[in-house]
Amino acid sequence: MAEFRMPSLGSDMEAGTLVEWQIKPGDAVHRGQIVAVVETVKGAIDVEIFEDGVVDELLVVPGAEVPVGTALARIRSAQPRAAPESPEPSTSPAPIAATPAAAPSEPAVAGGVAPAALASARGDRLKVSPAARRRAAERGIDLADLRGSGPDGAITLADVEGAAAPAPRTVAGARDLVAMRQAIAAAMAHAKREIPHYYLAMPVDMAPALAWLAQRNADRPPDERLLLGVLLVKAVAKATARFAEFNGFYRDGGFEPSEAVHVGMAIALRGGGLVAPALHDARDQDLDALMKGFRDLVQRARSGHLRSSELADPTITVTSLGERGVEAVFPIIYPPQVAIVGFGAVTERPWVQDGRLIARQALTASLAADHRASDGHRGGLFLAAIADVLQQPELL
């Protein structure tokens, strides 16, 4: 038996509010499946499970705010669908499926065994279908608050579902900006207090990348075009191959390099705040796949439904504040990561090449890195490697 716990979606998260279960007892679940929606200061997050099994019991009802690490559900790891251990017989699928339509004939269903017993045991005068009662228990809804739409005012499954839906205060995308500001403050204060940052910057000739990108996008419809940001992300991901000390986590007094490269994308939100969810396995994806992932990520960052793994996984972060016109960025590391790469705006600037002064499209790339995990010498080489990769965009 395994426990599915409230995940930590970044070092700035202490608790989350369960908004919705997308599973019920008896359901088979598989690794990577979205099983619940949790409200955090970063909006509503789709939470994935990381094992295969069968849902045994849901331990927390929607609406409850619980600390990170709290057991939310029990999962049976065994494959065979064992008979329900719960004494409640309505776990068997048949009555549940039958009930919404069959609510009027509830006595017939209840003619079996336990549902009637359950009702009488509670001394409950309410007429409630077994499925409705069970769902109400799952969701922590008080049946006495409901008005039944069935015959004689019987409460049907539909009544419970209807009551359940509006209960959580979450509308997709709605965020508490004050709470988000506090969470950013806590994470960044922690970073500045604990992480001995060092900062480096260097100019990068962007002419080859821009020329390649213009040609690549010229005859493509808008939805197949690439953004420069995707080239920058891929360049960073590729450069980490020879610079493992910038990709991973500093935890428990030591640096743990990461095999995978999950690039956190700092995404500003309209109205304020930001999130930095991961583009997973950025080194292994081609530019088209990365662009698709990036589009999807930005859309979900702004409208809701980021996934728990996207918030928990970033191994290094990229911030492209140049989008907003700034020349250079001196960013703060997101703990427990150890590096963040910034890109300033592409501008035409004086550039000396072969002893001649020319005008050149360029940007300033910067690195903030954790001195506990790396030194400035290696940081400089890492930045130079990123710049090098960008000189051969066709190989990205």
Binding site: D223, R225, L227, R270
Partner: protein, 82 residues
């Protein structure tokens, strides 16, 4: 589709990208990207929606000076600029 239809469709598309905007408050002489704090992803989504909904494919090379990047009230159906 007349000029008013096009304006209204462009405004609708823009509202999906910058929901808080007030179309009446836009300054027709300024670039939309600056007025609405639109980044490159927002812009690409705008251009993509115009392509899908209006059938007009604006090449990337035409972004600078494109009339759709001015507030929609100055956009003429022919695409000519004042």
């Amino acid at each position: 589709m007349n000029r008013d239809d096009i304006q209204s469709r462009l405004t609708q598309i823009l509202a999906t990208i910058a929901p808080e905007m007030d179309p009446a408050a836009l300054d027709p002489t300024l670039d939309l990207r600056e007025q609405l704090d639109i980044d490159s992803m927002d812009l690409l989504n705008f251009i993509t929606a115009i392509h899908k909904q209006l059938g007009v494919n604006i090449p990337e090379a035409d972004y600078p000076g494109s009339p759709v990047l001015r507030p929609v009230s100055t956009t003429s159906p022919s695409g000519a600029e004042s």
